[in-house]
Homo-oligomer: 557 residues x 2
């Protein structure tokens, strides 16, 4: 630990610096043993097939618990920036600050978590400023794939940090303001100590492209189609929804929303004056009775999520929306890595029904990314001219590549912390000065558990190898006085070896094993259990070439 | 069933027509009740995270069992074309036919399966002809991403079928012959009844590109790099290996192979005269003592496979190959859908070590696909001019799109069978005349089991929800005479609710449930088990918001 009594400015990523998503960043000011903190974003990441039963993963905030946190500022309303508030706020209690659209969605989240009464949530106007002790935080309007995205200019007595949040440079964002270039340039003129910056698209040349171009591409595509149209996109991208809705209206179609988050986000958007001059949505039920060529469904589920609208349309289980031959499904969305198979299955099931699929592969321009590509990163470095580059929001390979780009851009210092690395930004040269406890917590069965916990490890082992359960009763002298009950979970039999025969054979071996034990061994259930488990593991290897989990239950009478 | 006594020519896909991979096709000739058959390809597909514990999936050949099969022809040596021979040959015993390189690898496969003595394997020269009863099969040299790929011209008294196998048009395939355009055009002139054709890249415009171009791109990239170089590619692409080896030699580097299939394939390639004029490979051990700038490793594991060479290099567990800062890893390979996360993790781990990653994203041209894009498909239709198009080797969306392309190409008839659909090709118009038993068999614990089998379903359920096991003993009157043993597999506790407390509470509830049962109920173990299971399921819902698998073991004394 640095025991210096001088004031320092530190940056501490607890999420987002080893992955894309799960953002939780902290800035500290003060002497090492008495820092004041602000937290920027409290996001989740999502489980994948390697974490069965775990849908949501949050950063471990343990280091910040009990610290002097002056406020929590949320840059925008994507789940990887606000999604962990319900789980983590009780551990890092501090007032929340967000712009109105973001605040609307945070309020809903707190309500769901039963926290609404306990939390103070301050609505900050676009471009507004928040005073949080030694930190003066200015909201800097940027562009991204959601309404009201903000970068933060964090001013401290030791210098200004530009925390970009998720951004790109979109000169025609369709909804909301353009990137506030003047402010960023002014900050650059005044001197930016450090820029903590999005690395997502650092491997992509050029620029991400504009929502305005997407609007045109969608209008052209939609105007040329007959039959019903379903469009899958992320509800949180209000500009995209707006573009789809206007393309539909221009083509003489009414719009119906399908999926809970479509309704949730449109309510949030309307609360801040967006989506105001459009025709009322049809309900899904009304839309059923409308001619197919006059209807367009805006649907959740573009990632192939099992219970979302598009999947239910595809498998025919949606109560109101039926698509078939002559109808169209437009994917105005990216493929999130890891979702390729589920999206492929969804598109396949729709194809089976005769639905024509349109994606950015065959119709370029109907989707653009919300993150800066290399030319945009270069532009931002030219505007902000930071002394220190701190790449974040990326896997290690993105962060390493971003560091090279910053070097190319003549940024004097670059530091690439991992989650849990505390970076001193000032005074003196930037450096990682400490490594604090950090990690990921898994939401498992409604509990927050350690990433390396037993439960998930056991489930994974069971998923590949199955479970054998053997139970029997012993009397006081170690004689078996019940049946030997052997059960298999997730273990197969076939014609040559029916499962019943296998289990009978295993019971036989268990009996022999117990009979083979001598006096003292029989008095200790643990010894009996271990001997039986060894027998069953060895036998399983022979039968299934596997080592299932073996549970041996010895009941002593 | 069609009971016509006239001779018919039928095509029956049992794999490959609802997916990319797992190819198993049959052609039948004769009256409906007395057909002679040939089988084309006997391939596997691979499990994915939705099939934990199942790595290999094969087509169900049940319909062909006991039929009169004159021969099994293998078009090329990719696993999705020959990989199921070890599993399925015993069920569809017939002589095998393949060109020399393919035959070499089949022989190895049969040896591994202990079948080498039982199987007759005929080596057919390139361009050779096989007489199989009413079928005269001509091997037509094509190009693909493996050595010795073949299409088949299947001549029958009712017309000729061109079965393309996997192909593209590569005018500079680096290793092996070019596509035998003359033969395909001659077949077209003579009249092709039907073309059964690869659909993999039907959504990709233009052409796949040539191995010759890849050779140039790799040579340029490799010549400019310092430090150690590892190249990940598919071993079966001998042309690619050849290109990498020559690029290495031109840059003054010796080559070492890393990974079993690299050695297996180079042996197969050398057995047919390929890779003949190259310097001997260094062993991995020798290479260790070589200067880094004079070495290049050809590695397996470009898909992020956990036990392959590249993953072991990345995690530092490879016994001989160490890469670090200043070294390079080139991915001369595609991302197979479903492998995005594992490849991302691999690249990340390498980045962590300071290894620079090169992929086709940042260095275009270092990989090309082996399957025909739209312009190549159009070209093939112009050469072959079939009366009937039968798209295969695709998901349903690929097959539907391919049918549209065939229609555009003025092919008079198109038929799009699913696996198990029997297509009459002649006489009369093409039509699906029958649906036969078909499906996928899972290799699970060394057994071939039904796709919908219980074992995998249970493992999946356990993976997400865990398992609860409760065991206790009852005496003859239904009194509990042992401890109530409750165990959780894959279920968590936390600080508020330690797992031990939860299990104690569950045991308590089980006791109350059993005590609450009356006379007759207590005499029937099944009734007791069901009552206890109900209690535990309900309680689990409260504790974990989950429904684990509940095993209730009631031992009656």
């Amino acid at each position: 630990m640095n025991k210096n009594k001088d004031n320092e400015l530190v940056f501490l990523p607890l999420g987002g610096s080893n992955e894309i998503g799960m953002n939780l960043n902290a800035y500290g000011y003060g002497p090492a043993d008495d820092r004041e903190w602000i937290v920027v974003d409290v996001g989740v990441t999502f489980g994948d097939p390697s974490t069965p039963g775990v849908d949501v993963i949050v950063p471990d905030p343990v280091y910040l618990e009990g610290e002097n946190i002056r406020g929590i500022v949320l840059t925008h309303a994507h789940e990887d920036h606000i999604g962990a508030l319900g789980w983590l706020w009780p551990r890092i209690k501090a007032p929340l600050y967000a712009t109105p659209f973001t605040a609307y969605l945070i309020r809903e989240k707190l309500r769901d978590a039963g926290l609404l009464d306990q939390v103070t949530l301050h609505e900050v106007p676009l471009g507004g400023t928040i005073d949080l002790g030694p930190f003066q935080v200015e909201m800097v309007t940027i562009t991204h794939s959601i309404a009201e995205p903000n970068g933060l200019a964090i001013k401290t007595p030791l210098g200004t940090v530009l925390h970009t949040g998720d951004w790109k440079i979109d000169n025609d964002p369709v909804v909301g303001e353009r990137t506030d270039i003047e402010t960023i340039q002014r900050l650059g003129d005044e001197g930016v100590l450090a820029m903590v910056c999005d690395s997502t698209n650092v491997f992509v040349d050029g620029v991400a492209g504009s929502e305005g171009e997407v609007r045109e591409a969608l209008a052209e595509l939609i105007s040329g189609l007959k039959g019903r149209i379903a469009v899958g996109c992320f509800a949180s991208n209000v500009a995209r929804m707006d573009s789809v809705i206007r393309a539909a209206e221009a083509a003489g179609r009414r719009v119906a929303l399908a999926g809970r988050s479509m309704h949730r986000i449109t309510a949030a958007a309307k609360s801040v004056g967006m989506l105001s001059d459009i025709k009322p949505f049809l309900s899904e039920d009304e839309a059923r009775h409308w001619p197919g060529e006059q209807i367009l469904y805006l649907c959740t589920g573009s990632q192939g999520e099992a219970r979302a609208a598009l999947s239910r349309v595809a498998d025919g289980s949606h109560p109101f929306i039926k698509l078939g031959r002559g109808d169209h499904c437009i994917f105005s969305s990216r493929v999130i890595p890891g979702n390729e198979l589920s999206i492929g299955r969804l598109q396949d099931t729709l194809s089976e029904r005769g639905v024509r699929i349109h994606t950015e592969k065959d119709t370029p321009g109907i989707h653009v990314s919300g993150h800066p590509c290399r030319d945009e990163l270069r532009q931002m470095y030219q505007w902000a001219r930071p002394r220190i580059a701190v790449p974040t929001h990326g896997m290690r390979r993105h962060i390493a590549e971003h560091a090279l780009l910053a070097k190319d851009m003549q940024v004097p210092e670059t530091v690439t912390p991992r989650n849990g690395d505390m970076v001193r930004l000032a005074p003196g040269p930037a450096a990682i000065i400490d490594e604090v406890p950090s990690g990921r917590l898994f939401v498992d069965g409604g509990m927050l558990v350690e990433e390396a916990g037993t439960a998930l490890r056991e489930r994974r082992h069971a998923a590949s190898n199955g479970v054998l359960v053997v139970s029997f009763a012993l009397d006081k002298r170690g004689k078996i006085v019940s049946d030997i009950d052997v059960r298999a979970i997730g273990l197969p039999g076939d014609e040559d070896q029916p499962l019943g025969d296998i289990l009978d054979d295993l019971a036989e071996r268990v009996e022999q094993t117990v009979r083979g034990l001598k006096g003292a061994a029989l008095e200790d259930e643990l010894v009996v259990e271990q001997a039986v488990a060894r027998t069953l593991k060895k036998a399983s290897q022979g039968v299934w070439s596997r080592r299932p989990i073996v549970e041996t239950v010895v009941l002593r009478l």
